[in-house]
Amino acid sequence: MSEFPYIKIQQKDFDLTTEVAAMRAGHKDIGAVVSFVGTVRDINEGDEVSILELEHYPGMTEKALEKIRLEAHDRWKLESSLIIHRIGKMYPTDQIVLVAVSSRHRENAFYASHFIMDYLKTNAPFWKKETLPDGEERWVDARVTDKEAEKRWIQ
């Protein structure tokens, strides 16, 4: 068991059913499970994308994600939650990230998963580099809309 068992940073792909079942295990009073999966789009900034490579800051990543996860638990009384983020090379349609949460009622699960994703986008140290069909590599720019999305959760 790692220091943060509900945070996984891994190269390999994940199976939604398996991961959600693991997150729910041992929690009976669950009425709602929301899962978000972020996937590699084949288009970014109008250009076709062939490869997406994810780099991260080991150690800080886990700490940042755990902080976000625990804040979501505090604010929405979650029963359980799980964040998986892949690193390394990925291709269009591949799964990049999973955020899964469970709660008694649906509203909390919807808000908490949305909150975790918005904060992950602006606070977790991951960086994307994309390779175009002609071999050109470029770092993906941070989106202004992500910074705005984060603000909606400020209490």
Binding site: G38, L54, E55, H56, Y57, G59, M60, K63, A64, H85, I96, V97, M117, L120, K121, T122, N123, A124, P125, F126, W127, K128, K129, W139, V140, D141, A142, R143
Partner: protein, 82 residues
Amino acid sequence: MVNVLYFASFREMLGKANEQITADHNTVGALIEDLSKRGENWQQALLENKNLQIAVNHDVAQRDTVIKPGDEVAFFPPVTGG
């Protein structure tokens, strides 16, 4: 002595992923001033870059964050995961 890390475009621009720096600096800002003397790319990446992100010991930090020997200081661009 602090451990300094560079990520993503910073690593590529500065040509290194990490280094040990022995000079004593009281703050991240002082460390940046010092590193920027190495050349134009250092100056642009660290001193003049308003998008510079900083972490000290895995926590988000600012230029005025105090550092001490043994700390890990990281420089990187805005994050783009998810």
